[in-house]
């Protein structure tokens, strides 16, 4: 996952060339992105609402709760973050429920770039691939959350986090350039950041591209930005920074999953999706699992293809998990704060 093969740079651009029918420039990108069928907002929201009515009970619920934990990027992205706060977050990630050692670990912790060394130190031997029960470190980069900085600064920001050992980079797109119609500019930035994710050994940190859907505003824009991010080499497309409202919504996530499904149909390649921000309850998170399973298929319910960017969600899942096991609800003081 975190290690893409060295030959991939070429593959990325070839993939864009093949799909676009030419070098990725302003003309080819515009032609392609504006040729994608439109999105009917009413219909999309209806479909999302109907997926949200699935009733997940008993054994399915138990499975879903554990799966949600395994898919969480436990996140702290505050100006007030300290090494101590990050250590506390990592402790929570390692052992989410102090009272129940059978509780699975989360997939990753997500922090600002300067906190990466502290996260790695705190994780110790538990740092690694979530497929092996270990925990990855994700860092936000590229002048997160606004992205209002020069390309050089964004690349330096990314390279520094990767050098510090981040397994995953959560970058933001230049929404200003996107809304101004400068698709090639957005494309090039993503492609360059992807290059900045390259490690000394030739492998790549996994790249999550944050679209900040709350600023893109229309579903048509979200769909175009999703295609753009995938064409430019993103491994994941992510809804939001969590700093803009609305953050992740079910219809937006459904739409991004539909793009990922179509990309898979087109190229056979699996891209991940990460809704982030605003998902606080188990009930909501289960709706996302249903939407993933019924849109792209169950195989997407694994840490390399689907993540929740969340912090308070974890404790609600733990409370629900306790309720399933004991038959009664406990309370907020029976789960730990990080």
């Amino acid at each position: 996952m975190n290690a893409s093969s060295p030959g991939q740079t070429v593959a990325f651009s070839q993939r864009a060339v093949a799909v676009l029918g030419g070098e990725p420039d302003e003309a080819t990108l515009r032609r392609y992105l504006h040729g994608i069928p439109g999105v009917d907002a009413v219909g999309l929201e209806q479909r999302a609402a109907s997926l949200g009515t699935r009733s997940i009970k008993t054994t399915s619920k138990a499975w879903a709760l554990d799966k949600i934990i395994e898919l969480i990027d436990l996140t702290t992205l505050e100006g007030a973050d300290t090494p101590g706060k990050v250590r506390s977050l990592v402790a929570k990630a390692l052992r989410p429920d102090a009272a129940d050692p059978t509780t699975p670990r989360v997939a990753a912790v997500c922090v600002y770039g300067d906190m990466v060394p502290h996260a790695i130190a705190a994780l110790g031997s538990a740092h690694g691939d979530p497929d092996q029960g270990l925990i990855s470190v994700a860092a936000v980069a590229t002048a997160f959350p606004s992205g209002r900085s020069s390309v050089d600064v964004k690349l330096a920001d990314t390279a520094e986090a990767v050098a510090a050992g981040a397994d995953e980079i959560d970058m933001v797109i230049d929404r200003g350039a996107f809304l101004a119609g400068n698709y090639a500019e957005v494309f090039n930035q993503i492609a360059q950041v992807k290059q900045a994710c390259r490690r000394a050994d030739g492998t790549y940190a996994s790249l999550k591209v944050i679209l900040e859907t709350g600023e893109l505003n229309t579903y048509d824009n979200v769909r175009r930005a999703s295609w753009l991010a995938i064409l430019a080499g993103g491994d994941f497309i992510k809804t939001s920074t969590g700093k803009v409202s609305p953050a992740a919504t079910l219809p937006v996530t459904l739409l991004m999953l539909e793009v990922v499904r179509d990309w898979y149909r087109l190229t056979g390649e699996r891209i991940g999706v990460k809704p982030a921000g605003g998902i606080r309850s188990s009930k909501d998170a289960i709706k996302y699992l249903v939407t993933v399973a019924e849109t792209v298929g169950e195989e997407w319910l694994q840490p390399h293809l689907f993540r929740f960017g969340a912090s308070s969600l974890l404790n609600d899942v733990l409370l629900q998990r306790q309720k399933l096991q004991t038959g009664h609800y406990s309370g907020a003081d029976y789960v730990t704060i990080d």
């Binding site: 219909g43 999309l44 997940i56 009970k57 019924e294």
Partner: protein, 532 residues
């Protein structure tokens, strides 16, 4: 385990408190029918639910007489405001008992609980709320001041949306001041009888609504009864035609809502994922037991393969099974007879050379089931493209230009509904304008609202239900029907035509209703005044 094999999530049947035997609801009471009772079963399990009475001719006569008494008695004298209060009360009781009604509907009809819970029952309440609001505003129904109720309405409804069709019939009839004798379909009488309990709860004056159960003979006896003034029928075109013949020359007003073979037209610029959802909703909603179902998919040739591929992938995620499970998408076929008809028509489709694809889903052992099926390579002359299948079966045809789409969409004896999918607003309007269908949905399908009239062209019937138009179907314009002197100058309204005894309302015409009937017998309906 697979997450997608969601654990069973059955809706509880505990709110249901069913009796073993149900009588007829006549004059505010449940009475035993004099015909041979029959059993109603759950189509999903073939298990017995309850015994239902059959109304014979005498029962029908009793019911019509009760409705007449109620019309001449309290109901026609009551102010619109007060009638409205009863309708509001019924609407609220439907909401209060929503869960119970939804469970009963799914049990008796076979439709998924998510549909009866989220569509049928909320719409039933919406219909009563909507027409409750009309009850004291009939002057604004577009017929002039003081329109008159028709009298006793005989209403026969189908099995596909048992309670919703009841609401479509009863709510406007009562709002307009009529009384009602209603016959539900024989396979789905249960919720109508629960509704009768709601009427008792609402303290509706006795006889205003009477519910008679039974098979086709009961329905024929009802529509043939000389004491009714208005027939409203929803069901098959064959039966509708027979009713129209029977009613011809009797003066009974008639509205028919019959079959359909709706075209769902998908242009190449359509929002594709939403169009796929709309196609699925158009034909697989309620197992395709929808008269306005989008059973003919007309897809632009350039995107045919992509649409069919995506459709197949989507259909593979539909969940067929226990109607009471909250995750069920496709429930049971309502009856063995309907299942046989679907099988016969799909067999004809294969025999005529269409290519069949059926979703791979496990079919339960008991009950009546039909897996979602699509036919490609269908030509316009095939039976599956012309006849109403009334099941989860979609016929896919192609077109090249908007003109061809319109021609093919209109090339059917029916004309109830149609759908258009395109991102281009001007095209939607231009095409909708040329479709001969009562309802045209744009970038959606199977949407119903009490404020929107619904009805058909050609063999899909006549008259409209819903909206102001649906109200007008239960009203006579003052002076219009029994009009005597067409050239009569606009006259000042005469208040209280006491001798007519009809409504105690003012008439917009100078002639008395009695005179009017004499001079215009052909146009005259069965007048309540004449029977006195």
């Amino acid at each position: 385990m697979s997450f997608l094999d969601y654990a069973p999530a059955p809706e509880s049947t505990s709110p249901l408190n069913l009796r073993d035997d149900y009588g007829l609801f006549i004059d505010g009471e449940f009475v035993a029918g004099r015909g041979t009772p029959f059993a109603t079963i759950s189509p999903a399990t073939e298990r017995h639910i309850a015994n239902i009475s059959t109304a014979n001719d005498e029962d029908i006569a009793d019911a019509v007489a009760a409705a007449r008494r109620a019309f001449d008695g309290p109901w026609s004298k009551m102010s619109g405001r007060d009638r409205g209060k009863y309708l509001y009360r019924i609407a609220r009781l439907v909401q209060e008992r929503a869960r119970e009604l939804a469970v009963a509907e799914s049990l008796d009809n076979g439709k998924p609980i998510k549909e009866s819970r989220d569509v049928d029952v909320p719409l039933v309440a919406a219909w009563f709320f909507y027409y409750a609001g009309w009850a004291d505003k009939l002057d604004y129904a577009g017929l002039g001041a003081n329109p008159r109720a028709l009298g006793v309405a005989g209403q026969v409804i189908p099995w596909n949306f048992p309670l919703l069709m009841l609401a479509w019939k009863i709510a406007p009839a009562l709002a307009a001041g009529n009384t009602v004798v209603l016959k539900p379909a024989e396979t789905t009488s249960l919720t109508a009888l629960l509704f009768a309990e709601i009427l008792q709860q609402a303290d509706l004056p006795r006889g205003v609504v009477n519910i008679v159960t039974g098979a086709g003979a009961t329905g024929a006896a009802l529509v043939g009864h000389p004491g009714i003034d208005k027939i409203a029928f929803t069901g098959s075109t064959a039966v509708g035609r027979a009713i129209a013949k029977q009613a011809a020359g009797t003066g009974k007003k008639l509205t028919l809502e019959l079959g359909g073979k709706a075209a769902n037209i998908v242009f190449d610029d359509a929002p594709i994922d939403q169009a796929i959802e709309g196609i699925v909703n158009g034909i697989f909603f309620n197992q395709g037991h929808v008269c306005c179902a989008g059973s003919r998919l007309l897809v632009q040739e350039s995107i045919h393969d992509e649409v069919v591929d995506r459709l197949k992938a989507r259909l593979s995620t539909l969940r067929l099974g226990d109607p009471l499970d909250k995750n069920t998408d496709i429930g049971a076929i309502n009856s063995r007879a309907q299942l046989d008809r679907i099988r016969a028509l799909t067999a004809a489709g294969e025999a005529e050379g269409a290519e069949r694809w059926t979703a791979d889903c496990a079919i339960p052992d008991a009950g009546f089931w039909y897996a979602p099926t699509i036919f490609t390579n269908v030509s316009t002359s095939d039976r599956i493209a012309r006849e109403e299948i009334f099941g989860p079966v979609l016929s896919v045809l192609t077109f090249r230009t908007p003109a061809e789409a319109i021609a093919k969409a209109n090339n059917t004896p029916y004309g109830l509904s149609a759908g258009i999918w395109s991102d281009k607003g001007s095209r939607i309007l231009a095409v909708a304008d040329k479709l001969r269908a009562g309802v045209v949905w744009a970038n959606t399908f199977n949407k119903f609202d009490p404020a929107s009239p619904f009805g058909g062209y050609k063999e899909s019937g006549y008259g409209r239900e819903g909206g102001r138009q649906g109200l007008a179907a239960y009203l006579d314009a003052p002076g219009s029907t029994p009009r005597a002197i067409p050239a009569a100058a606009p006259a000042p309204a005469i208040t209280e035509v006491a001798e007519s005894g009809e409504l105690g309302r003012s008439e917009g015409d100078k002639s008395t209703p009695a005179e009017a009937r004499k001079s215009a017998p052909a146009a005259g309906r069965k007048s309540t005044g004449a029977k006195k």
